[in-house]
């Protein structure tokens, strides 16, 4: 028997891809070409997304089409070598197999596993959980779309989107033009997820496990993109893709956010979790029945955003995390419960206020009877009479109609804000169990004791920072309904919550990208920062950060529940709330909300898009080159704020692998795995000169890949530090240095101790701080400087040598404008990749 080895050099009948006069055998550019020959050929030859001839000649072309994690290990290995994982294990005990329980704190377990490997396996599992939630979400939407429209349905990306499905293209080598393409892409993500889960209980190497966690993150972003495409193309969510540039500053429409926006006399249907299909069916039903002025369609979390993109009268009631706030106050008459981001005790909580529950996902059925096949009136009657507290309906249209009908009935005479009086606090003996239980470290008992003495102010202050998880109640031996007391004390605040917000608009448009491409590429814009997350205790935090970054001329995007939090922040200078204060643009002095958590994919898309726009990097099956370019050149970063969820874990892994560093807010310490660089270890900070192949010591930029911080001020300062890149242009380095220094001075009343590591030439120092910096370089760091003229005479290398500016430019960092890379195969010219410099290059070296 003869085995055919993939990509055998003797495989002469393999197809050839040709660009201009340059040809490559496709078996040489992928690991295993069998079955994907036509995709590979097109990925190289595609006139829009494929390879420019020059690039094909310059670097070692290698495509990753439908890659496994293992195929991307070059890149993952580089990242994890420079930013090794640091773990904070929940427990040192392992109970994962039948041989345990094993205590791994001192020795290996019965299966041979050690604590780090156990942590890495947990990391992969967390990333898989997050990815599975997004893949499941995308699959539910896609299946419904396939049923309605079929595989051949064309997906319109809009006239302002030149590069559709960028996240997907990097991995599948194929743009998504039809629902069938979307199905193929999602199947790939599903297959990868199964493989990754299989590895999570077997793989024994930390780096391999973390590489797989990265891969789960990439699959998360891919699935998010599929979900967004289907929502926009098949279910009518608004998108900027078809709008003229002049429309965009005010696009999309405003919706209202907050309980104060509701008419409490009218029926309220609240959508919780991912109940998207039911949500739009409910809106359609309300519209068709002429009930728009009567029935109020509301959403928390992703439904507050997605429904807002579909229906202008949607009321957004905040992040998913705080659904209990709304439920306890008895605001909704009916809640429609999907999967993801739903408290496990939501049914019990709904019963307390006699709120009817319509569950619509088989993944979150809560033990309710499946009434999908029952008559609509029968189900409605059972809920209205209270015979059943909740039902499961797996038909979106029927679920929607039931929800609306039941809400109309139940709302009659139903009172809102029926909350216990402060006398409920009288049983408190100040034991402090609630303080210990609070995941946000709030001083709950002091507030309850104050209430006992008749003062409600302290409880009202708790309202501002409370996560509404009710852990305090569950540990209270006196059974005090603490959350209800907090709400009672803050009723006036809740009623006053009424803000305008933009619910999200999908992708930035091609016109916006073009508009700032030059400024972004050459660095007059300090960077692009996305703030995403599940919503914080204090809603003001995220708005504060957005405001500061916009003020600092960063390009700012947001997505996820934090986008709703932002609405409540008041800009004192503009005298407006944030969505009204800034234009909805990916532009200086603007910020845009992309949408719900599936819209994190639009953030990644924006990052990748700039790589393509500025460097013309091929898009199809070319993930590694994009990630290499982002980490080396493009000043992008992500702040994740609020309690950590598996979805955010996966998203963080996806962004980090793409080369966009991630700052985690204080709750991010619960992530239990961080990717921290060691600035002191000079051996870690290198890059290849892209032309000569010489390995050069570089500035530690960015210093970390995933790092937690404690305060919003730290988050802002850290993100300005993480947008430094080894390949910064002069103006870029200057503006980043200015931002970093500015935040550092303002928040910490001191100067950044590490700023000298990022000084490459005096021409790059911010003009307004130049003399101070020069003085400090001389006095504190031993550089030879001319203080009067503000010049660096000799710079001090990290090895202690004093070097002239020319010598320093040669021995430290990448020369401005010079191409650099972290991957050997991306060094230009084969001789340089082999380390054989041509004579001309040697002369260049001597210079």
């Amino acid at each position: 028997m003869t085995f055919l080895l993939p990509n055998s050099r003797n495989d002469l009948d393999t197809p050839v891809a040709t660009v201009g006069k340059t040809s490559v055998r496709i078996c040489d550019v992928v690991r295993d070409v069998r079955g994907i020959e036509s995709i590979v050929k097109r990925a190289i030859e595609d006139p829009d997304f494929g390879w420019p001839e020059r690039r094909l000649q310059q670097v070692e072309c290698h495509l990753h089409i439908f890659p496994s994690a293992k195929e991307l290990e070059d890149w993952d290995g580089f990242l994890l070598g420079r930013y090794p994982p640091v773990y904070s294990p929940k427990s040192s005990r392992c109970n994962d197999c039948m041989l345990g329980v094993c205590d791994l704190s001192r020795e290996r377990g019965a299966c041979g596993i050690d604590l780090k490997t156990k942590c890495a396996r947990d990391s992969l599992l967390d990333a898989c959980k997050g990815a599975s939630q997004m893949i499941s979400h995308a699959r539910a939407l896609l299946n419904e779309a396939l049923k309605r429209f079929g595989r051949d349905k064309r997906i319109s990306h809009g006239k302002n989107v030149r590069y559709p499905s960028i996240n997907t293209m990097l991995f599948t080598g194929t743009p998504i033009y039809t629902l069938g393409d979307a199905d193929d892409a999602l199947r790939y993500a599903e297959e990868q997820l199964v493989e990754l889960l299989a590895a999570a209980s077997q793989e024994s190497n930390v780096i391999d496990l973390e590489s797989k966690a990265f891969h789960a993150g990439s699959m998360y972003l891919l699935a998010g993109e599929v979900a967004e495409l289907v929502k926009e193309a098949c279910f009518g969510l608004c998108s900027a893709a078809d709008r003229e540039l002049v429309e965009l500053p005010n696009f999309p429409h405003f919706i209202e956010r907050g309980i104060g926006a509701l008419d409490l006399e009218k029926p309220v249907v609240l959508f919780v979790g991912n109940s998207f299909l039911v949500g739009i069916a409910a809106v359609d039903f309300v519209r068709a029945s002429g009930l728009e002025d009567e029935v109020q369609i509301c959403g928390v979390g992703q439904m507050g955003l997605d429904l807002g993109r579909y229906y202008e009268k949607t009321k957004n009631l905040g992040g998913a995390l705080k659904v209990l706030r709304v439920l306890r106050a008895g605001i909704p008459d009916v809640i429609v419960v999907g999967e993801q981001c739903v408290p496990a005790n939501i049914l019990e909580e709904a019963k307390k206020t006699r709120t009817a529950v319509v569950a619509v996902s088989q993944n979150m059925s809560m033990g309710l009877k499946d009434r999908t096949d029952a008559a609509l009136s029968e189900i409605a009657n059972a809920l209205i009479s209270g015979e059943e507290a909740g039902v499961l309906i797996l038909n979106p249209k029927k679920a929607a109609e039931v929800a609306v009908k039941v809400a109309r009935e139940l709302s009659r005479g139903r009172k809102k804000f029926e909350l216990p009086g402060l006398e409920a606090a009288e049983k408190c003996d100040g034991c402090g169990a609630c303080d210990d239980a609070c995941p946000n470290d709030l001083e709950v008992s002091a507030a309850v004791l104050a209430a006992k003495e008749g003062r409600a102010n302290e409880l009202s202050e708790i309202y501002d920072d409370c996560l509404f998880c009710a852990k305090c109640e569950s540990v209270c031996i006196a059974r005090i309904p603490i959350v209800s007391l907090v709400l009672k004390a803050a009723v006036d605040k809740m009623r006053a919550e009424r803000f305008k917000m933009r619910p999200g608009r999908g992708t930035p448009s091609h016109l916006e990208y073009r508009d700032v491409a030059y400024a972004f590429g050459f660095g007059t814009v300090s960077g692009m920062v996305a703030i995403i997350g599940c919503g914080a205790g204090n809603e003001q935090d995220v708005g504060y950060m957005v405001n500061e970054l916009v003020d600092m001329n960063f390009l700012v995007l947001t997505a996820g529940c934090v986008a709703a939090d932002i609405a409540s922040f008041y800009n004192e200078v503009e005298k407006k709330h944030l969505y009204e204060a800034w234009a909805a643009l990916l532009q200086i002095r603007g910020f845009l909300n992309c949408g719900s958590c599936s819209a994190f994919s639009h953030v990644a898309r924006a990052f990748i898009k700039y790589n393509h726009l500025i460097a013309r990097l091929p898009l199809l099956g070319n993930f590694e080159e994009h990630a290499d370019y982002t980490l080396g050149k493009m000043p992008m970063g992500v702040i994740i704020w609020g309690p950590a969820s598996p979805q955010l874990y996966a998203a963080a892994a996806g962004f980090a692998r793409l080369g966009a560093p991630v700052v985690l807010g204080p709750h991010g310490w619960k992530f239990q795995r961080f990717l921290l660089g060691n600035v002191e270890d000079r051996s870690k900070w290198w890059a290849y000169d892209g032309f000569t192949g010489r390995k050069v010591e570089v500035d530690p930029a960015p210093p970390h890949l995933i790092i937690p911080v404690e305060t919003k001020e730290e988050a802002l300062t850290m993100i300005t530090r993480l947008v430094f890149r080894v390949n910064d242009f002069r103006d870029g380095r200057m503006s980043k240095m200015d931002s970093y220094w500015s935040f550092y001075e303002r928040f910490f009343n001191s100067i950044p101790e590490d700023f000298h590591l990022y000084v490459r030439a005096d021409a790059e120092l911010p003009w307004t701080r130049k003399h101070k910096m020069i003085r400090i370089l001389g006095e504190k760091y031993g550089w030879d400087v001319d203080k009067r003229r503000g010049l660096i005479i000799r710079a001090k290398h990290r090895d202690g040598r004093l070097l002239t500016p020319e010598e320093y430019a040669r021995d430290y960092g990448i020369r401005v404008g010079q191409y650099s890379t972290f991957l050997e195969r991306l060094i230009i010219r084969e001789a340089a990749r082999r380390g054989e410099l041509a004579d001309a290059d040697k002369k260049d070296e001597e210079w």
Binding site: Y87, S105, E753
Partner: protein, 148 residues
């Protein structure tokens, strides 16, 4: 291990080189007490101002360097230089400190002392649960104890 005020004083006195990490939750008078504690310990003690505490410390005339908690932890794991043998934590969110202490317990060689109002199982030495007033008093007694 749970320690009382005297126990904490002993741990602090026994350390050869220690770093006091000041967390983002510390306010005025307790911050002064921590400064007093550091001064009492003399040259062997350094202060790392994490969170936003560098600014108030500078206003108090203390030139404590701004530090990022994650970077301090990373240094304890990877750096080969002269490292402290004791890290002292005061003024941290419990969900932050739990993670920090877990990393240090499992992967670093230094000892840890949590001078917080809550007990931290992953610390080598920790105060136990107490009210804010009792905590303030305990810190003051510790600061005075190291001088004696």
């Amino acid at each position: 291990m749970i320690v009382d005020v005297e126990g904490a004083v002993r741990v602090l006195r026994d350390a050869k080189k220690l770093l006091i990490l000041v967390g983002s939750r510390l306010d005025g008078d307790i911050l002064s007490t921590v400064v007093k504690l550091a001064e009492g310990l003399g040259a062997k003690a350094g202060i790392a101002a994490t969170g936003n505490t560098a600014a108030p410390l500078r206003e108090m005339g203390i030139d404590a360097g701004k530090e990022w908690t994650a970077e301090v932890v990373s240094r304890m794991l990877h750096s080969e230089g002269d490292k402290p043998d004791l890290l002292v934590f005061v003024g941290f969110y419990s969900f932050v400190l739990s993670g920090v202490l877990s990393t240090l317990k499992h992967f670093a060689s230094c000892k840890t002392l949590a001078l917080e109002r809550r007990r931290f199982e992953n610390a080598d030495f920790s105060l136990s649960e107490m009210s804010k007033e009792a905590w303030r008093d305990a810190l003051m007694r510790i600061a005075e104890g190291v001088i004696r």
